[in-house]
């Protein structure tokens, strides 16, 4: 998975209002034109693994959002004191600690969901979106924009995962949020239940998005 390093945003000027036009873009861009999953193709592994049902997907999205925002802000705060030579390790340490916290919390307060998510919560550590944002953005920006960037990318992740989970749960299990939609006799669909289905739904979403945005592959 490539950690496509985006052009590092220039350091935000002093006293810029938090919701300036530029900052608003930090949120809106990752939702569509620069979506971490469908455009940058990062974090796909978890997108395939956890989207069988909507509820675990929601928990996963919130977890990623939380880790992303917190680590972005933390690294942004530390950006001037982190020695360059160990910055990746420090980032990893911060992310890993946050993920461990999330995992512990889920085990304590959402035991069923944490059972379903199993290792994939732990694997948030290796989610390229997070490390990518830390490297590309948080290290060079103030905490405010870093917070927004984390929020934007976390939402960008969610905005793809939730529809994927929606279709997979609907067609795979015939239910939504665990409520039966198609009735007892719906036979389910094994393709949608397996990661293959996620891959196909994700592919179709990318197809849809690209044809709408007029994206063309660079030569």
């Amino acid at each position: 998975m490539s950690t496509e390093t985006q052009a590092v945003e220039a350091e935000v000027k002093e006293r810029e209002p938090l919701f300036s036009k530029k900052n608003r873009k930090l949120i809106s861009n990752p939702l569509d034109a620069d979506n971490p999953i469908t455009v940058q193709v990062l974090g796909v592994c978890s997108a395939l693994a956890v989207t069988v049902k909507l509820i675990p997907t929601l928990y996963m999205c919130i977890s990623v959002l939380f880790v992303l925002i917190c680590s972005n802000v933390a690294i942004s705060l530390l950006r001037n004191v982190i020695p360059g030579r160990i910055r990746i390790i420090v980032q990893l340490l911060v992310v890993a600690s946050l993920v461990a916290v999330v995992d512990q919390v889920l085990q304590a307060y959402a035991y069923d969901v944490s059972k379903q998510l199993s290792v994939f919560v732990g694997l948030i550590i290796t989610n390229c979106i997070i490390m990518g944002r830390l490297e590309a953005f948080a290290l060079a920006n103030k905490p405010g924009p870093a917070f927004l960037d984390g929020l934007g990318n976390g939402l960008g992740y969610a905005v793809i995962l939730i529809p994927v989970a929606f279709f997979r749960e609907l067609f795979g299990s015939g239910s939504l949020f665990g409520f039966n939609i198609f009735g007892e006799n719906y036979p389910g669909n094994g393709v949608m239940m397996s990661p293959v289905g996620a891959c196909i739904v994700l592919g179709l979403l990318i197809w849809f998005q690209r044809s709408r945005n007029g994206y063309t592959e660079e030569a």
Binding site: G84, Y109, G190, M193
Partner: protein, 252 residues
Amino acid sequence: MSKLNKNSSGYIFGFALLVILVCGVLLSVVSGALAEKQYEERELERKKFILKAALGDEIAAVEKTEIAVMYEQRVKESVVNSKGETVDGIAANAVKLKNEYKKLEKNGSVKAGQSINLPVYMVMNADGSEVEYYVVPTYGFGLWDNIWGYVALQKDLNTINGVVLDHKGETPGLGARITEEKVQNRYRSGKTIFEGDKLVSVTMKKGEGNDYSSDPHAVDGMSGATLTADGVNAMMSSYMNLYLSFINAKKS
């Protein structure tokens, strides 16, 4: 204040140490604060499984908070070994089934020189005067990975009252269906594990949609998941054999 040299080894070490310290403290605090709650959750699931195996649908209506209370009131725990002798000094919930399972041979008998701890949960009747169900945990291997479950026997120690099954990695839509109520309920129609004095266990058959109401040792299978069903059958039969001494002792 003179600027620190960020590339000096001392600074790097110091910084790393500091970060590790902060993260370590954070983690231990969180883990400490949540440990009890997590334990409760795990216990709750175990208790729920045990009660569900015994009481079935009754339990579905019980609030999550009530489960622990109900368990406290109605369940008595003990641990036995494969000879049916009671093992003292270990609590039933401290027995790690996965580890105990490793003490078994392929054919389900206990490895030479090993002693296996087998928890037994006795679910009492509503007024607590006598044992109504015996719930025993089982552990085995399905098609891809481990499977486990609880089997509730009625007080005759022959009739199965219900089962709860769970798995780690069976095929979704096929073997994974053992967690479905619909499949588990197939064990709730008075199946018996003994034929006279002989232990025969209960077998999930190949194929689906057949009527086995006349056969007390067979339940309808899961189409396309014969191998997971075979795993369930093997697990069932081997653990019933392990508990055989206990059952015989209780019966007599």
